[in-house]
């Protein structure tokens, strides 16, 4: 299945400044692995082995894959997948990161 993955601006530099990348995959996970294979630096940023890193959110046709079947969400072809940096943090009682 051919799908389009739209990249957030902050990640476009890791994909030769492309806004969108077209990849093949039967599932969201397979499509993201194909993206990582085509652009290894981007893959390093968004993938941890077979899984999407927790600070990346993935939307397919406006719906977060966490509310679907995650990386196993099936693709029909022609979908638009969007990646969003999941920004989180805070004081959390774990202290300041110091040398």
């Amino acid at each position: 299945m051919t799908v389009t993955i739209r990249l957030p601006t902050v990640l476009q530099r890791l994909a030769n400044d492309q806004k969108e990348v077209t990849v093949e995959g039967d599932t969201v996970g397979a499509a993201l692995q194909a993206l990582g294979a085509a652009h290894p630096a981007l893959g390093e940023q968004i993938l941890d082995g077979p899984n999407v890193r927790p600070f990346v959110k993935v939307f397919i046709e406006g719906e977060e894959i966490a509310d679907l079947d995650g990386e196993d969400t099936l693709l029909e072809g022609g979908e638009s997948i969007r990646l969003v940096p999941a920004i989180a943090g805070g004081t959390c009682g774990c202290g300041v990161a110091t040398r």
Partner: protein, 155 residues
């Protein structure tokens, strides 16, 4: 665990420039949210921040954590698709501690973005704003502090 540290010396020769009203908007958002953490996106170009877009703090433990609303990011990317400005960073507040990034802040940090933190530690009860930056795509790159200044409105 990746090696994490802060660089204490400002590294940017050109400080982050906050557009008119940005500083006040950050203070108002953070003050209204206390004792919870507050957050939002920073929009601008390069070192210039021209707009603050507050979002809800979606984290389940907002007293000590924050999570910016990703749907607001999607809307911003659509809105800014043909604009010169883009999302250039994130703001969040520490309601009772120093404005220094935590381990969790670094774990989620996007290289190239500005991170403005407004802290309300006991020695700065009125609030203390500091700016941080992860300058490259190295997964182990440290947060570095950068100077910030207020850009006056042009007549």
């Amino acid at each position: 665990m990746r090696s994490l540290f802060l660089a204490r010396r400002p590294v940017s020769a050109v400080p982050v420039r906050l557009g008119p009203g940005i500083r006040d908007a950050l203070w108002q958002h953070a003050t209204a949210a206390r004792p919870l953490e507050s957050c939002g996106y920073l929009v601008g170009q390069g070192e210039r921040i021209s707009r603050f877009v507050p979002t809800r703090n979606l984290h389940a433990e907002p007293e000590t954590r924050y999570s910016v609303d990703p749907l607001v990011y999607l809307d911003l990317e659509d809105e800014l698709e043909d604009a010169e400005d883009e999302v250039v960073g994130v703001f969040h507040s520490h309601p009772a501690t120093v404005p220094e990034p935590s381990v969790t802040d670094r774990a989620h940090a996007q290289p190239g973005w500005w991170y403005l933190i407004l802290g309300f530690p006991p020695d700065h009860p009125q609030g203390h704003l500091r700016a941080w930056h992860v300058p490259d795509a190295d997964a182990d790159a440290p947060f570095e502090e950068v100077e910030w200044t207020i850009q006056e409105a042009t007549p």
